[in-house]
Symmetry: D2
Subunit: 335 residues, 4 copies
């Protein structure tokens, strides 16, 4: 469903010509005449209409799509919450989960030690970066396949399911035993990657791009679902704004807004969003308070030696303290 | 304290000329030579130095102020929290307060009814708009002086202290019995107004501008303090970003960040930030969870007939339910 | 004219209740039923309808105002360009003017020397700051009334009309002999100031706020016009975005867009927008190339000693060179 | 070169510990003591230092990299302009080129007709989309390989070199006869794609991401150069801001800024930036006026039937008129 407003001065002939063209596209057209303008309500399958083309016509004042362009991710078409289940852990539909671990996987000792500590504190899923997207070609790019191998060792040692980021569908084979595949913010609109992941049945953790609207975010989830994979977790991780006191601006209102628009679970990553350890606990608390289905937190056994993004890693004891406070806030939400 | 980086290719003579000028401004200059650049560390009272002028010189690569430009609002110079006390209600330093009421004051019956209901639900302060800043000159601009009179009636009836917005220092007399004077987002950098308010001893509730950094926000508080008024409450109410699903983007990370930089109390206004009733409860919860010293919530006895901003007003029974849940989250924070 | 989309699931009774209310507000309502939604076209004077209130109702999916909220500034209601004439200089409607001068007025010698030099290079109007809005209360705030007196001396010496900024309507008397009164970006929504200026007959140079949309910008011009003053010049001076390589992001597309929406002249200030002398000439060229009716450029006789904003001031000889090139670009535009 | 500011209250022992660690990374450390803070100037190869890790330490107030993180794209290391030459057409270093053509390739007749017309008007390079990145999985995704085949037919018919977008390195074989490979805004940080393109010797037209800083943009060019491909054209195509009157906000100040930082040619795409035909000519003029080395303009033989992005396509006769005016502005710039 779409609304097209015609400019004052549009002739009867011009209007009829446009309506004829629209009807040829299979649409019903409802006309409302105002004093200065005319509104056309376009009913039917408007998804094939190019809004920008329509908006470019001389006689058209503005065009607005009324129905959402996303289908399968839309709560209108599936009112009940999607629940993702992985290795016995559930996320969404009232199930809350914490993912924790280091920014980068470095050594077997490191990842196993962190995994044991976050498990002891109550985390249900282990996170760790093997392939690392870095702004500079000269920065450490991750241990890649070897990093995934080490994560699997930590999974074996602790029983925690693991989540790690993919950057290129050509390496999908390496992710065969990974429990949740993460798509980073920079790849949120790497449509070819999304389509490839849509052909798997792995749960996908899709991060919101730095400058993407919630509708674009849901359209990227739709890319995955349109290929057949229903297992998607949405992750808010901060947007880019004019202020610089934190790395990005964590947009927590996105949590209730995404829950309203979609049935998919929504988690929050306060570590990447804020970029500062001291802001991670309060923002993780806030994420839980506004209804997030989970949080993803960086934890490192020795922040001074982290190879990357160390600035946003809690030490295990800080993480354990945070976990206790999150449980209290979570109770308030569930009430 | 300031850092100036000189470009590769700066001659000895040029550098000496600049250092001579800087020393004449009363600064000490420390020099560090690198391979491609030279760094000058400027020590002393750099507040009189025009950073942009310095940055415009041909030999200067960049200039960075290291010490904060704000003084009296700075936590470095007053480590303990400022506590604002008004009519027996405390805000800041561990004291949490809820301000509630309608967007606009309309009638005596309306404001007294709302005041009684929000008091019953646990609000400590009554809010209501008398002077209304409106984007359009043709929109309702508030009851002005008469609105303040009605608020004072509601104060008499309930004992609640009142907070209402000022737009023009010429009307300061009308605010003689108002407990807290609010400065709206659009006037955050109306410096003449800030200075006039700095000459009073009224608590000032200063809202963050739509596109202002936290440093600019604190500099505006500094304008008030520099004239002698120490009683300032900072209020985060959303910033302007590219997304449009909520009216503004509520920047909750500002709460811990402002607490870190300043000793002043920090509250959050989720009603104006989100512009949608359904997002107000989760975002009020989140504000409390990340350590806000209070929240400001619009409550209206009949949203359908509100004259302005009705979209963001809770009904009293929704507000009472929210108050109960806020108390639980607050307990988690205080732990 | 306004469009309201009703949610799927709205009952016939709810819809009739809403339509009844809308008709009571004096509107005609046209109904279009779609598969999942219903569209109401509201015809008549919708300016009194609170869009946000309407949008907050449970049954309402979205609300969109179709006709522009601005009237007197709207090109629909006055197709021919407004031409501002001041001291023999015309701006708008094919007349192009350059305003030049120092950021701050400092001494009589300084302002007269600059005035003579910019006049010699071809500038038609002298600019200079007397009242200076500064982020910090500790920064130089301008010579105020004395600054205006010095500008008037320069006007006497050169015959150039002058433009300078007002920050507070209480000082309006001091601007009696000023030719164009400037409203700065921070005061673009200081509605009380705009209304006072609307009661004068002075040309007003209104700068766009850092984070204001073009519609808000035009609504602020409407505030002035609604009080009777038709003499307004719009000025684009950069908006706030995420990038920091220039002070603000100069939004030149605003020039053709404002020309399309309004009959008022549009000028550009590349000095404040970019904050860097070396970007001023190319961006002034670009402003002329996309159709600006004028540019406002900072010129200083000795940038090293400017008291404020010196970084963005050209020297007179650079300005003279720029003027020559602007004339060539202007010819290409006029073709 | 890097600057680290230590907080007031840092002990001598803490500082020595940090300096010891920094020296172990191979850096020289210069110390400047101020009243409230201490500055460390880090000299040497700081590219391996994790700024965010350093910034996260309790004793560190802030960290700033002084030298640019980009090397090969940096004008400091190659003062003379890079000139890209393709099929006899030069771009950069004083050579100006216009790329024109339809958003999407549709049919052989269409692309050949447009190619002949834009050539007649003076365009030097033919653009056309074969692989189309679309927000929605349900929108037309381009003719893909067949589209490239049709472009090659048009090249054969007109002699114009062609530029078209790649989305996935797996399809690189299809681009064997393409003259310039375009990387779209959404893939600006698809680092794996950039690296693959760095291994070819094809000229790459790299578009700036919607929310990327100029430094990030140059780092992405650095990814390509670091693999050996020196042939890169930078393209500004609008950034995402809060205003919605044009599709994106064209950031023309980026043109002189990129020229200052890098030796690579810089072109502008006003069609995608503004999204509206009527803004394309003025903004193309402005792009030339501020020194762009080229513009990329959408031209379509029948805008009403364009399959995508038709809204921003000029008709050939409008394009021919624009070309004449661009030549005049270009003369003013070359003066």
């Amino acid at each position: 469903m779409m609304i097209t407003v015609l400019k004052k001065g549009t002739t009867q002939g011009q209007m009829e010509h446009l309506i004829h063209w629209l009807k040829n596209q299979g649409l019903d057209v409802h006309i409302s005449h105002g004093e200065n303008m005319t509104i056309l309500g376009l009913i039917g399958n408007t998804s094939k209409i190019d809004m920008e083309l329509l908006g470019s016509l001389d006689i058209v004042e503005s065009v607005k799509r009324v129905s959402d362009p996303f289908k399968q991710v839309n709560r209108q078409f599936q009112p009940e919450d999607t629940v993702i289940e992985v290795g016995g852990v559930k996320i969404g539909g009232g199930h809350f989960a914490v993912m924790a671990g280091p920014c980068s996987v470095e050594t077997e000792e490191q990842i196993i030690e962190v995994a044991m500590k976050v498990k002891a504190a109550g985390a249900q899923i282990l996170r760790g970066g093997a392939f690392k997207p870095r702004t500079s070609p000269y920065d450490f790019q991750g241990l890649k396949g070897e990093g995934i191998r080490l994560l699997l060792e930590a999974k074996k040692a602790t029983g925690l399911p693991i989540v790690t980021e993919i950057m290129n569908a050509n390496f999908l084979d390496l992710f065969a035993d990974v429990d949740i595949i993460q798509v980073g913010a920079r790849n949120m609109q790497n449509f070819d990657l999304l389509k490839e992941l849509g052909k798997t049945d792995k749960p996908i953790l899709l991060k919101r791009g730095l400058a993407n609207t919630l509708k674009e975010f849901l359209m990227s989830a739709e890319y995955i679902m349109s290929e057949g994979n229903q297992n998607i977790i949405l992750c808010e991780r901060g947007i880019r704004t004019f202020d610089t006191y934190s790395r990005n601006t964590l947009d927590l209102t996105a949590v209730p807004a995404l829950h309203e628009m979609s049935h998919l679970p929504v988690i929050v990553d306060p570590s990447h969003a804020t970029g500062k350890v001291r802001f991670v606990p309060p923002m993780a608390m806030a994420a839980v308070a506004c209804g997030a289905d989970g949080v993803m937190v960086e934890v490192h056994n020795d922040p001074m030696h982290a190879l990357c993004d160390g600035a946003q890693s809690l030490r295990p004891e800080q993480f354990a303290d945070l976990m206790e406070r999150l449980r209290i806030v979570r109770r308030a939400v569930e009430q």
